[in-house]
C-alpha cells in the first residue's frame, strides 16, 4: 500500500513520513532545552560534575601525590603533572554514565512513551541527551583544570590541552553507547549506576591514570597495557605535558571506533525495539 492512496485528502499536515533535517534539529533543540531545564530545576544533579573533579584531585594529589611523586623522581609537584591529564580521562568516563541513568529514568517514568508516540525521530531523543551530557563533561573538565592549576599544574601547551580534552570526549562518546545500552536494558537507574561502577572501577584503577604501571605485577600490566583508559591517559599526558603521543593516540582512537562500531548498533536496536 502506498502512502498516497490513503492520505491524499490530508490538508493540514505534510504527509511526507520522512523528517527533514531542520525538523530533526528543531526536535533535538526542544529536547536539549528539556535536559537543561532539568539541571536548572535540580541543580544538585550538577554536584557530581562540580565536586568529583575537586575531591578526586585533592584526594589523589595530597594523599598519594608525595609518595608516587617520589617514585617518579620528584615530589608532589611531579605527581600533579602526572595525574591531571589522566583525571580528564577518568572524569569523562564517569560522567558518560549519565546517558544511561537518564534514559533509564525516562523509560521508567513513561516520558519515553510520550516521545515515542510523537512524530519525531528517535535519534533526536538520543542526540539531545548525548549533547547535554557532553556539555556537563566539558563543565567538569573546566572545573578540573581550575582546581589543577590551584594545586600547581602548569598549563604550558594550550593546543595540547584542547587536543587531550577532544580525545577524551571522543572516547567518552563511544563509551556512552555502552551506558545507553545499559540504560535501555537494565531495570532502573540504580542498577545502571551499579553496573556502570562495576565496569568502570576496574578499568579506571587498573590503568595508568593514577600511577605508572611499571611497578605492577606482570599479569596486571598485561591488562593495563590493553586498557583503553591507559592509552587515553598516556596520550593526554603526552599532549599536555610532553612525551610520546602517536602510539597511544592511535590505539585510543582505534578503541573508540571499535567500541562505537559494536555498541552503537546494539544500543540503537535495543532503543528502537524496547516496548
Amino acid at each position: 500500500m502506498s502512502a498516497a492512496t490513503t492520505t491524499a485528502a490530508t490538508t493540514t499536515v505534510t504527509d511526507d513520513a520522512r523528517i527533514s533535517l531542520r525538523a530533526h534539529l528543531r526536535h533535538t533543540g526542544a529536547l536539549v532545552r528539556r535536559n537543561l531545564l532539568w539541571i536548572r530545576q535540580d541543580p544538585e544533579s550538577m554536584a557530581d560534575a562540580l565536586l568529583m573533579p575537586v575531591i578526586f584531585t585533592l584526594l589523589f594529589v595530597f594523599v598519594f601525590g608525595g609518595s608516587i611523586g617520589q617514585a617518579l623522581g620528584g615530589g608532589q609537584d611531579r605527581y600533579v603533572q602526572y595525574v591531571i591529564p589522566g583525571m580528564i580521562a577518568m572524569m569523562s568516563m564517569t560522567l558518560s554514565q549519565g546517558v544511561g541513568t537518564g534514559f533509564s529514568q525516562d523509560f521508567n517514568s513513561g516520558v519515553m512513551d510520550r516521545f515515542r508516540s510523537l512524530p519525531i525521530g528517535r535519534g533526536s531523543v538520543l542526540f539531545a541527551k548525548i549533547s547535554v551530557e557532553l556539555l556537563r563533561m566539558l563543565f567538569a573538565t573546566t572545573v578540573l583544570m581550575i582546581v589543577s592549576v590551584a594545586v600547581g599544574f602548569d598549563i604550558t601547551n594550550w593546543p595540547g590541552l584542547f587536543a587531550a580534552v577532544a580525545l577524551s570526549t571522543a572516547f567518552a562518546s563511544s563509551i556512552m553507547w555502552v551506558f545507553l545500552t545499559l540504560g535501555v536494558i537494565m531495570k532502573n537507574a540504580q542498577s545502571v549506576q551499579a553496573m556502570g561502577f562495576l565496569v568502570l572501577f576496574p578499568l579506571q584503577f587498573g590503568s595508568s591514570i593514577f600511577a605508572p604501571t611499571t611497578s605492577m605485577p606482570g599479569w596486571l600490566q598485561a591488562f593495563t597495557d590493553y586498557n583503553p583508559l591507559s592509552t587515553l591517559a598516556d596520550a593526554a599526558r603526552g599532549l599536555m605535558v610532553g612525551g610520546p603521543v602517536a602510539h597511544d593516540l592511535w590505539v585510543t582512537l582505534g578503541w573508540s571506533v571499535a567500541i562505537t562500531a559494536v555498541m552503537a548498533p546494539i544500543a540503537i536496536h535495543k532503543f528502537r525495539t524496547k516496548s
Binding site: 490530508t10 533543540g29 526542544a30 530545576q41 513513561g110 508516540s117 512524530p119 516496548s275
Partner: protein
C-alpha cells in the same frame, strides 16, 4: 479536515484480528473493533484483559504479532509517523516530564509537533488556561496533585489538536472528586469533535463518557454495542443496603444468596461503609430482596441502587468471574507503571 480512508467507511479506528502474545500469555487474541468518527468508545475489562496492549499497539508503541489496525486512515504498522501526527495519548503511562514545569512540558511537546515557537507558546498558555493550570504553570509537575497531573496529561495530548485520542484508564487511582474533574474535561474534549478510545475498569466511567462499549476479557472481545443495549443485556444493577446493625452483614449476605432471588454475582460485604452489595437483575428482585430482609426482621438504614459492578457485567456476558478483582492496584498488563 478529512483523513479518512474510504475503505474504512468513516471509522476513525478499525481493528481486525489483532494478536499479541507474550510467550504463553495471550495479551490480545484476535481483537476486532470499530470506533466511528466523533464518538467515544469505551473498552471495559479487568486488569490483564489486554486493554493497555491494545492502546499501545494503536499508538505505535508496540508492534502486533498479526492482524491489522488503522487510526484516522493510517495503518499502525506501515504509517506510524503520519499516524503519530493525528493522535493524542493520555493515561497510565504516556506521562509528562515530572521535573519540568507544566508550561515547559506543553511548550516542549508543541515544538516536537513542529509548531513555531510563538505558536507553541500560545498553545501552552491556552491549554493551561483551559485545564485550570495557569496558576501552576511555573511549578514542576512533580509538585502537582494527582488530578492536576492527569489534567496536564490531557492538555499534553491535546497540543496537536488530535483527531483521535486514546485515554488509557484516565481516572484509575484518583479520588472520586478528582475523577469527576477529569470526566468533565474529557466530556469537553469530546464536545470539540475528537474521537476517543477510552479504556476503563469501571462500568460507571464507561457509562459517563462512552456511547459505545467493547467488553474485553483475556485478550478477546466478549461483547460490544451501544451502552444502553449492553446494559439491557446485562440487565443488572447493584443494590447497596445498609442494615441498622452492621454486625449482621455477613450472615445476611449468606442468607440472601441462599434464597436465590438475586442476580448472577454473589452478594458482597463492604465493611468500610457497613453495607451489603446485592446484585439484582430486575425491579422484582429488588422488591423480593427488601421483602426477604423485612420478613427476617432486619431494620434497614438506607437503600440505594447503583450500576452493575464489573463483576456482574462479566458474569452475565462471559459466564465467569473477571480474572482479577477490580479494586486491585491501578496497573493493567505492564509490570511497571508510574502513576
Amino acid at each position: 479536515m478529512t483523513r479518512i480512508d474510504t475503505r474504512t467507511g468513516g471509522a476513525a479506528v478499525t481493528v481486525r484480528g489483532l494478536v499479541k502474545h507474550y510467550g504463553e500469555t495471550k495479551a490480545l487474541d484476535g481483537v476486532d473493533l470499530n470506533v466511528r468518527e466523533g464518538t467515544v468508545m469505551g473498552v471495559l475489562g479487568p486488569n490483564g484483559a489486554g486493554k493497555t496492549t491494545l492502546v499501545r499497539i494503536l499508538s505505535t508503541l508496540l508492534k502486533a504479532d498479526s492482524g491489522q489496525a488503522t487510526v484516522a486512515g493510517y495503518d499502525v504498522a506501515r504509517q506510524p509517523r503520519q499516524l503519530r501526527r493525528v493522535i493524542g495519548l493520555t493515561g497510565q503511562y504516556a506521562s509528562v516530564d515530572e521535573k519540568l514545569p507544566g508550561w515547559e512540558n506543553l511548550y516542549m511537546i508543541g515544538r516536537l509537533l513542529d509548531l513555531a515557537r510563538k505558536e507553541a507558546r500560545t498553545r501552552a498558555d491556552e491549554l493551561l488556561e483551559r485545564f485550570s493550570l495557569t496558576e501552576a504553570a511555573k511549578r514542576p509537575a512533580s509538585t502537582y496533585s494527582g488530578g492536576m497531573r492527569r489534567r496536564l496529561d490531557l492538555a499534553a495530548s491535546m497540543i496537536g489538536r488530535p483527531a483521535v485520542l486514546f485515554l488509557d484508564e484516565p481516572t484509575t487511582g484518583l479520588d472520586p472528586r478528582t475523577r469527576n474533574e477529569v470526566w468533565d474535561e474529557v466530556k469537553a474534549m469530546v464536545g470539540d469533535g475528537v474521537t476517543v478510545l477510552l479504556t476503563t475498569q469501571y462500568m460507571e466511567e464507561a457509562e459517563q463518557l462512552a456511547s459505545e462499549l467493547t467488553v474485553v476479557d483475556r485478550g478477546k472481545v466478549v461483547a460490544d454495542g451501544r451502552i444502553d443495549d449492553l446494559k439491557a443485556k446485562v440487565g443488572g444493577r447493584t443494590l447497596r443496603i445498609r442494615p441498622a446493625d452492621a454486625l449482621q452483614l455477613r450472615p445476611l449476605a449468606g442468607y440472601l444468596d441462599g434464597l436465590g432471588i438475586t442476580g448472577l454475582a454473589t452478594t458482597t460485604v463492604d465493611g468500610d461503609t457497613g453495607t451489603l452489595l446485592v446484585p439484582i437483575l430486575s425491579d422484582e428482585q429488588l422488591t423480593a430482596v427488601v421483602g426477604a430482609l423485612t420478613a427476617r426482621g432486619v431494620t434497614l438504614a438506607s437503600i440505594t441502587t447503583e450500576l452493575p459492578s464489573l463483576d456482574e457485567v462479566f458474569l452475565s456476558l462471559t459466564g465467569h468471574r473477571a480474572s482479577v478483582p477490580q479494586d486491585t492496584a491501578p496497573v493493567d498488563d505492564r509490570e511497571e507503571v508510574a502513576v
